[in-house]
Symmetry: C2
Subunit: 327 residues, 2 copies
Amino acid sequence: MSDCDLDVVGIGNAIVDVLAASDDEFLTGHGIAKGAMTLIDAVRAETLYGSMGPGIECSGGSAANTIAGIAGLGGRAGFIGKVKDDQLGRVFIHDLRSTGAVFDSTPAADGTSTARCLIMVTPDAQRTMNTYLGACVELGPGDIDAGLIGRAAITYLEGYLWDPPEAKKAFRKAIDIAHGAGRKVALTLSDAFCVDRFRDEFRRLIEDEIDILFANEQEIISLYRSADFDGAVQQVRPHCNVVALTRSEKGCVILGNDEIHIIDAAPVDKVVDTTGAGDLFAAGFLYGLTNNRGLAECGRIGGLCAAEIISHYGARPEADLSALLNG
Amino acid sequence: MSDCDLDVVGIGNAIVDVLAASDDEFLTGHGIAKGAMTLIDAVRAETLYGSMGPGIECSGGSAANTIAGIAGLGGRAGFIGKVKDDQLGRVFIHDLRSTGAVFDSTPAADGTSTARCLIMVTPDAQRTMNTYLGACVELGPGDIDAGLIGRAAITYLEGYLWDPPEAKKAFRKAIDIAHGAGRKVALTLSDAFCVDRFRDEFRRLIEDEIDILFANEQEIISLYRSADFDGAVQQVRPHCNVVALTRSEKGCVILGNDEIHIIDAAPVDKVVDTTGAGDLFAAGFLYGLTNNRGLAECGRIGGLCAAEIISHYGARPEADLSALLNG
């Protein structure tokens, strides 16, 4: 991959997170599925925000979090996603560019506002997400910068892109460009409910197109409707060159051709907010992979990054990840 | 004070904070006075933001932080301040109202955007603030709700209000209304440089108008140009009914008529970001005072709230302060 001047380009929904402490009663009272990502419309967003507690705003978006993490580790990364040219859109652009990542997607001049994800963090540190996609629905094939994708060893896609219809087309276009240029394509399954919405399409993608797959335990079980984790492992084994399966405090399982590694989770003093755990695991893993580390070491770096992100509010690193890795 | 249905009404600059990790080189490279609050214009704000690292956004404003803290402790609180009707203005309104505080100031429909404070947090957890006042300069005497002030036992003012000229007039009007209704007036000196800008006016205010004074060590020394902390203590003693002087890790000194209390700081596992330490001390102290606690106990509650706020990024509480107090 020495002819690439970028390690990873991510494509995803460009979202600003609004995080607030919550309790389980709030979730049940508002009929929200705990731990999931639920799409909401503008009216529901107003209602939920009006009843949420005081929050903090932090740039988010699954693939964008991963790209910020890779840049924080010292990797060379880029992002494609759609914000509106509004206050939160400018915050999103600032936060990503200031990590050193390339982000040149044109903001929408009008239309709906920059996407927001209302995240309730319960005392068990679980995050429950309610996403108003806003300007993300404007992302389409025309936003896919073939030059940028050709520059990157890996193009990283989030399963959430399957929700906005035009983004799905953008996603497919990106895969074709990446493979046409001899690059790898990585996918994260994003969310068990998202898998449920697009199970057959995701299965075909994984069989035919995806080189590197990320999923957590619930997602991979949902994908194959298997009875347990091991059942899903057996089903996914024949597919993709590399599969990274995360299991929260149980660590991760990495599959690659004939290799299989079972890696323990990195220790965390206090789990505060699990938002972004999977995204930062992917960041560490992809950083390792594009820096020619072995698969087990990639899993360990992923675990370290996940441990940092769950020790504070928000899905963007507060610590210097590069120092953490080398410290 | 039993005829009051509010404990404290705060008047202050309505600001959204943008916090980012920084190093000392960044501050010196941009000619920023470490630990201070510096006023900046829109152009400087663009430049600094463009060179800052990725941030988190969190509602701020000194008096507004105090009001959010009082509400979080279970106190009855209100706020007067000026945002614009834009995305960050709506975030500010949401975050304050969702604490339970009364906040009915009319947002500006046009003009400059909601105020922003660019805060660099260095590895020593010190915060350095650069404030673009934006819509705050629109706050004037017409925004002072006499009814709201008459409802509150204490009207709490931040020294920072001396910077926007119309706000100073609003400040004086609020004092007259509060005293006319037989209420108390509290002031925080806000910042040593702010004291330096308005030393004579602040001294006269403290001699003539202020019942309860908050200051940290640098501010009270700046006010009297005294050689050391004890010199300033002797100078301020004849003034105000109550004086609360905070000294970071050395705790606080409380003066009240013939009483003097020297209270140790509450323990903190790890100091992450000192933004809002003084504001939350004032919250705890005023909550104690309006709940008829002794002065020493007020100082201790202030210390507990300050300890919570410096253990994480941002100047609004993450923990349930009421539970913290009673836990």
